[in-house]
């Protein structure tokens, strides 16, 4: 366990912020404690390793997009001011009441309303181009904004068309805001400086617009590339999956077929073997029986024949003997007589 004072010394030494006296103090501790020495060596190695890593360069689009977005915010601020002016000027339209005088109506003109919606949409669209409202959230905001503008238009439109009585006093205040028309002499440029200023302003505006459009193009290109890559990846994945599935199915089918064939063959072989065995056994039995019967018959016949022959022989012999003895007896008798 290293105490806090030593941790502090190690930290300072590794960061190169230690004083000579602190270095000496740490060297003393390192001599005494090998654990602290190992810790210090490890920290030094890590520190030099981290220091060797080069910093990243931020993408060029970072500064462009930040400046474009802040420009848009400024424009949006100006747009609000413009919208306020439009709303204020619309209140010029009112009705004239003979009793109470001129009455303002809290209603905006359609021309001014259209301009304010257009200005709002332009601001939103320019934000969208700069990638601020490119997501679902942004689309929802745009949709909500347009819906709100439409709601204002509908509510402000209630009560129209005005009757002739309503509009009878509207000319007077309008005339009040009129001034004499300018002549050709009024619109001549007073000096070349003004035109130069205007030109410079236009150049600055063009440069800003160019940088904004460039950043928008870049971000659009990037998003297009990304989506193309994604879709390519997806299709590649899909085709890979399909082919993998197909090959898997095929191999599965093949193996299933093979195993089915094998099992079928085996069972067929078995049954065939069995039936063959049975039939063989039967036929063998039969033939054996037959042959046995035959041989038995034959032997029986033979023995019967033999015995018959023997008995016949014997009886023949006997009868012959008897006949011979009888004939001998008879001849002896005849002799004796």
């Amino acid at each position: 366990m290293i105490d806090n004072a030593t941790i502090d010394l190690i930290g300072k030494t590794v960061d190169g912020a230690s004083t000579p006296s602190e270095e000496i103090a740490l060297a003393e501790i390192v001599k005494r404690d090998p654990f602290v020495a190992a810790e210090l060596a490890e920290m030094r190695q890590l520190s030099s390793l981290l220091a060797s890593v080069q910093p990243l360069s931020p993408p060029a689009r970072l500064i462009e997009s930040v400046l474009a977005m802040t420009q848009v915010k400024e424009d949006a601020g100006n747009g609000n001011e413009q919208r306020d002016q439009l709303l204020r000027s619309s209140t010029v339209i009112g009705t004239y009441d003979s009793n109470s005088g001129y009455k303002e109506r809290s209603r905006i003109s359609f021309g001014g309303l259209f301009q304010s919606i257009q200005s709002f949409v332009e601001v939103i669209m320019s934000k969208e181009n700069n990638g601020l409202f490119s997501g679902v959230m942004g689309k929802a905001l745009i949709g909500g904004g347009v819906a709100a503008a439409a709601l204002i238009a509908v509510t402000s439109g209630i009560g129209f068309p005005n009757t002739s009585a309503d509009t009878s006093g509207t000319i007077a205040p309008a005339v009040r805001y009129r001034s004499t028309q300018g002549t050709d002499a009024n619109v001549q440029p007073s000096s070349t400086t003004q035109s130069q200023i205007a030109q410079n302003g236009a150049d600055v505006g063009n440069a800003a617009a160019n940088s904004a459009s460039k950043s928008a193009d870049k971000s659009a290109d990037k998003s297009a590339d990304k989506s193309a890559d994604k879709s390519a990846d997806k299709s590649a994945d899909k085709s890979a999956d399909k082919s993998a599935d197909k090959s898997a199915d095929k191999s599965a089918d093949k193996s299933a077929d093979k195993s089915a064939d094998k099992s079928a063959d085996k069972s067929a072989d078995k049954s065939a073997d069995k039936s063959a065995d049975k039939s063989a056994d039967k036929s063998a039995d039969k033939s054996a029986d037959k042959s046995a019967d035959k041989s038995a018959d034959k032997s029986a016949d033979k023995s019967a024949d033999k015995s018959a022959d023997k008995s016949a022989d014997k009886s023949a012999d006997k009868s012959a003997d008897r006949a011979a003895s009888k004939a001998a007896d008879k001849s002896a008798d005849a002799k004796t007589m």
């Binding site: 190690i10 080069q54 910093p55 990243l56 993408p59 970072l62 500064i63 400046l67 802040t70």
Partner: protein, 190 residues
């Protein structure tokens, strides 16, 4: 080239003063001045260049919109770093899962560097980033501020609104854990 902001707080205050008085060019100068350190801090905490770019944009927009909230008694860089750290941490918590490492991040290599050197440096940087992503957010933050943005202990304490001794012990422990994770790399490269 270091990713630390080069210059003094006096220069920042001058730019801010000009911006407050309507000079939008002063804000552009601030963006140019801080884009690299802010982007690098976000990258080391998030580990993804695209997300770091998005967070950097948010940081500069917040500076643009909330400049009235800035208290001039603190250094401007502490304020903008705090916004960057907080936005990065919020992003990590919102996204719940950390994004994958970005292998194609654009490293700034010396012009004389050979392709092999650049490749090796990129490998080392990615390996370090892998190790950083395994640390806690607190550890990653102090390592990033100390080693990649070269902030002092006092500056880190000001950015993170911590006591300096807390910063010291936190950096020491974070270094220990990182050293263990990078043990093999230190043996090879150092």
């Amino acid at each position: 080239m270091s990713s630390r902001v080069i210059g003094t707080d006096g220069q920042d205050q001058e730019l801010l003063s000009r911006f407050r008085s309507g000079d939008t060019g002063a804000f552009s100068a601030l963006v140019v001045r801080y884009q690299k350190p802010i982007f690098n801090a976000a990258y080391r905490i998030l580990g993804n260049a695209d997300n770091a770019c998005d967070i950097s944009q948010v940081v500069f927009l917040k500076v643009f919109e909330c400049l009235d909230d800035y208290d001039p008694k603190f250094k401007f860089f502490s304020w903008i770093y705090r916004i960057a750290i907080n936005e990065s941490i919020d992003f990590l918590r919102r996204s719940s899962k950390h994004d994958t490492l970005d292998d194609d991040a654009d490293f700034e290599a010396p012009e004389s560097a050979s392709p092999e050197w650049q490749y090796q440096d990129r490998q080392v940087s990615n390996r370090i980033q892998q190790a950083l992503s395994q640390l806690t957010i607190d550890d990653r933050t102090v390592i990033t501020l100390r080693h990649f943005n070269e902030c002092s202990y006092q500056e880190i304490a000001e950015i993170l609104v911590l006591e300096e001794k807390t910063v010291k012990s936190r950096i020491f422990e974070a270094r220990r854990r990182l050293a263990k994770l990078l043990g093999d790399l230190r043996m090879v490269t150092v």
